[in-house]
């Protein structure tokens, strides 16, 4: 197998912001003392008059972003996922979502691969709590190439958005920048007839690996990148469930409330098929290397492959 090309989604974010900043003087960026980590520092360097480091004050950052947006700005606000979604949830709910402000909350360090910092810094619940807020669009790009597209799209789309990125360098699942990105429209990464694996973020790559490994057992897996958790691509989910009659969902998030839940909600009301979820079970993470944690918490291509075998057994 070829060596995978690794690029951090947050690096793609930092670069995309600088490009957008050049094109659109209305773009402003806020951070909460993590600008170097989230890569908003790249924007800060180029456009200091449009960058606000709000200090360690996530709640203030989000409502300030809302005030800037209410005055015609496109406000990107960044910090780590735990602090962006968790610490400022009520501010996102009232100042940003209830008002439909043009605020893009772009967080890095999503999920367990935040690694060594441990449970306090590993956001495994953010998608659940963001998805529950009306007017909110929730996106988890699969790689750095998709991240660039998502950030560019976000600047054109009017309204609140939560975009979750990772800390580490992650494999590119796209070979080129071709191909459209549409909010709410999943992407079939690989055709297949026996089972559909829906995934988002870093799990798309692992789903593709699982599908490849299952070829040897003559199992034909479809892999779908459901980058948009909300609004969920209901049509595509139903179509895939009908055509393949079995579903596995893989996400770097708690099995409660994230992509798995969103897919299950669609299936249970429209097309019940055997389904299995890969995600962090209902528990906190811990310190460790990202790769070690992925293994310990069951977020691997092997786990996805066994989940496929188990749903296929339940398929009549």
């Amino acid at each position: 197998m070829n060596e995978k090309k690794l690029v951090a989604t947050r690096d793609a974010y930092g670069k995309a912001l600088v490009l957008l900043g050049e094109q659109n003087p209305n773009i402003v960026v806020l951070d909460a003392d993590l600008a170097a980590s989230t890569r908003t520092s790249m924007f800060a360097k180029e456009f200091p008059e449009r960058f606000f480091d709000m200090g360690v004050a996530e709640q203030d950052m989000i409502s300030t972003a809302a005030g800037l947006a209410a005055s015609g700005k496109i406000a990107f606000a960044s910090t780590f996922a735990v602090f962006g979604a968790g610490r400022a949830w009520d501010q996102i709910r009232i100042s940003v979502a209830y008002t439909r402000q043009n605020v893009k909350i772009v967080v890095t360090h999503g999920g367990i691969t935040t690694g060594e910092d441990g449970a306090s810094h590993q956001a495994n619940e953010d998608l659940a709590i963001m998805r529950a807020i009306p007017n909110m669009t929730v996106i988890v790009p699969a790689d750095a190439i998709e991240t660039e597209k998502v950030i560019k799209t976000a600047a054109l789309f009017y309204g609140p958005m939560y975009i979750r990125l990772s800390r580490g360098k992650t494999p590119l699942v796209y070979e080129s920048k071709d191909g459209d990105f549409k909010i709410g429209k999943g992407i079939v990464m690989r055709k297949g007839r026996d089972v559909t694996i829906f995934a988002c973020g870093i799990m798309v790559d692992k789903a593709l690996d699982a599908a490849l490994a299952l070829e040897a057992s003559k199992i034909d897996c479809r892999v779908v990148n459901l980058h948009t958790i909300k609004p969920i691509d209901k049509e595509l989910i139903i179509e895939c469930a009908k055509e393949t009659s079995a579903v596995v969902v893989a996400e770097e998030h708690s099995i409660i409330g994230g992509l798995g839940s969103a897919v299950a909600e669609v299936l249970v009301e429209n097309c019940c098929v055997p389904m299995a979820r890969i995600g962090v079970s209902d528990m906190f993470g811990e310190s460790g290397k990202p790769e070690e944690l992925l293994v310990k918490y069951g977020l691997t291509s092997q786990k996805i492959a066994s989940a496929v075998l188990s749903v296929l057994k339940r398929k009549l």
Binding site: A57, D60, S63, A66, L68, S71, K73, R93, T99
Partner: protein, 281 residues
């Protein structure tokens, strides 16, 4: 200097706002009269003396902004917006009813003239800062005003925001605190004391003014001093009485934080709030 006649006119408007508050909350059989009444003079001074706006063009980019951070004081803001011509006064009595634009707490998407939705206390000053920062980027000279409750100042975010205002030396921002000394569960000093209050704001980097929040001339003077002041944001701590203008609410502010007057109480309150000119006739 503001003329005697203009001051009279503003006092009359404040009384009119209070009458609306009583009628609206009575009709709604719910709502927050106490903290709306305490803010009526300040809101009258803002909307009928200080703010630049065009009620026929609510999103006029040059307009001054007012953020009502204590969103439960919605009735006084709705009353002022209606009197300012943003929407017909007849809508006031739909407050809090199903299908009405006049939501229980202010909602910028449903009522023209409202700059920020609030209701979850503590968020308004941050949003006001955002507007003041935007003015600076856009080189616009509009001024941003934000009203806070004194109980609301127990929220940590208020002080995060205060640091932001001061750090960026937002002299295009004026904060008004409705210092009515009461919150829901009791007196602010008994629940969790916020004193030394003026010193806190000073220490946070504000130009601190204070005034009698029911003396129109004093409010006007403080507002003018605030907008003249350069180099720092200004806070005006307005000493007020919760339930101001209605004797039985002033005497029992805890009962009327979030309780509407009954029709009998409404009658009594409106008698007390009648305009002197009308009284003479």
């Amino acid at each position: 200097m503001i003329s005697k006649e203009k001051t009279r006119e503003l006092e009359k408007m404040a009384r009119q706002l209070r009458r609306h508050i009583i009628e609206m909350t009575c009709a709604a059989v719910s709502g927050h009269p106490g903290g709306a009444l305490s803010a009526a003079d300040m809101v009258a001074a803002l909307y009928f003396y200080k703010l630049r706006y065009n009620s026929q063009d609510p999103s006029w980019p040059e307009r001054d902004r007012f953020v009502m951070s204590k969103g439960h004081a919605a009735p006084v803001l709705y009353a002022a917006l209606a009197e300012a011509g943003y929407f017909p006064k007849k809508y006031l009595k739909t407050l809090r009813q199903l299908g009405s634009s006049l939501q229980g707490h202010v909602d910028m998407l449903s009522v023209p003239g409202i700059e920020m939705s609030t209701g979850s206390l503590g968020q308004g000053l941050s949003a006001a800062n955002g507007m003041a920062l935007a003015a600076r980027i856009d080189k616009k000279d509009y001024h941003v005003y934000c009203m806070l409750g004194d109980g609301e100042c127990q929220e940590g975010q208020v002080w995060e925001a205060a640091m932001t205002s001061a750090h960026h030396r937002l002299d295009n921002l004026t904060v008004m605190v409705d210092r009515n000394k009461y919150q829901i569960d009791g007196k602010v000093e008994d629940i969790k004391n916020i004193e030394p209050f003026a010193l806190k704001w000073k220490a946070f980097g504000f130009n601190v003014l204070s005034c009698d929040g029911h003396n129109m001339k004093a409010i006007i003077e403080a507002l003018d001093r605030a907008t003249d002041f350069k180099g720092k944001p200004t806070v005006i701590i307005c000493d007020t009485v919760k339930g101001k203008g209605v004797s039985f609410m002033e005497e029992n502010p805890l009962s009327y934080h979030g309780k509407a007057p009954t029709p009998e109480e409404e009658k009594k309150a409106l008698e007390q709030l009648c305009h002197i000119e009308e009284f003479k006739i």
